[in-house]
Symmetry: C2
Subunit: 116 residues, 2 copies
């Protein structure tokens, strides 16, 4: 079941619309963590953390790798790029300039094409 681009954006933005989930992403930016470790700073149940991680997983923002009885959670920041790209359609703010820049940079060979 491959999601449509619209559904992908729905899931992405919905995943980002909760502070706990954004905090989890920040934690995972520092380093990979087990579910337990992810839960630690938050005053909510493990069950809820598990659900949040599911939502982040559905959005493609977090990957989980089973290791023994633990599960390692890793950030997948490329998913954010999709959302960022969508936003760049809305000209006036500075990212747009960066977007325009990308083509130039590719031409100049200063960056690599990594179309996800």
């Amino acid at each position: 079941m491959v999601n449509s681009p619209q559904e992908t954006l729905n899931d992405l933005f919905a995943a980002l619309s909760d502070q706990t989930r954004r905090a989890i992403l920040s934690q995972l930016l520092e380093n990979d963590q087990t579910v337990k470790q992810v839960a630690e700073p938050h005053a909510i149940s493990m069950a809820m953390i598990s659900k949040h991680l599911q939502i982040l997983g559905r959005a493609g923002l977090v990957r989980q790798i089973k290791r023994g009885r633990e599960k390692i959670c890793q950030l997948e920041p490329d998913a954010l790029f999709v959302a960022s790209r969508w936003m760049q359609g809305f000209g006036q703010f500075e990212d747009q300039n960066l977007d325009a820049l990308e083509g130039t940079l590719l031409d100049l060979g200063l960056i690599e094409a990594d179309e996800g």
Copy 2:
């Protein structure tokens, strides 16, 4: 009642998590529209469009100006910048690199400041 930064991001991302609302933003990117005009391409009731516009308004993405019996809806793209900025905290994806690169390129004279 000033929203906390977290609540601001909640509202922003939640507003973006619905395709109808994203479509409305795209419409308003083209030109300002009355509520009626906003509703036209969508197969849902005016009441629902009104609600969507409320949510977009709460997120700071759309402003409404009353003109006679109509209400003109205008895009406020600066709000997107807040969300975009938040995303840029997540280093690994290329915007960040582009951002860092921009200064270098300016130094090299390969691009002009604030180019379109």
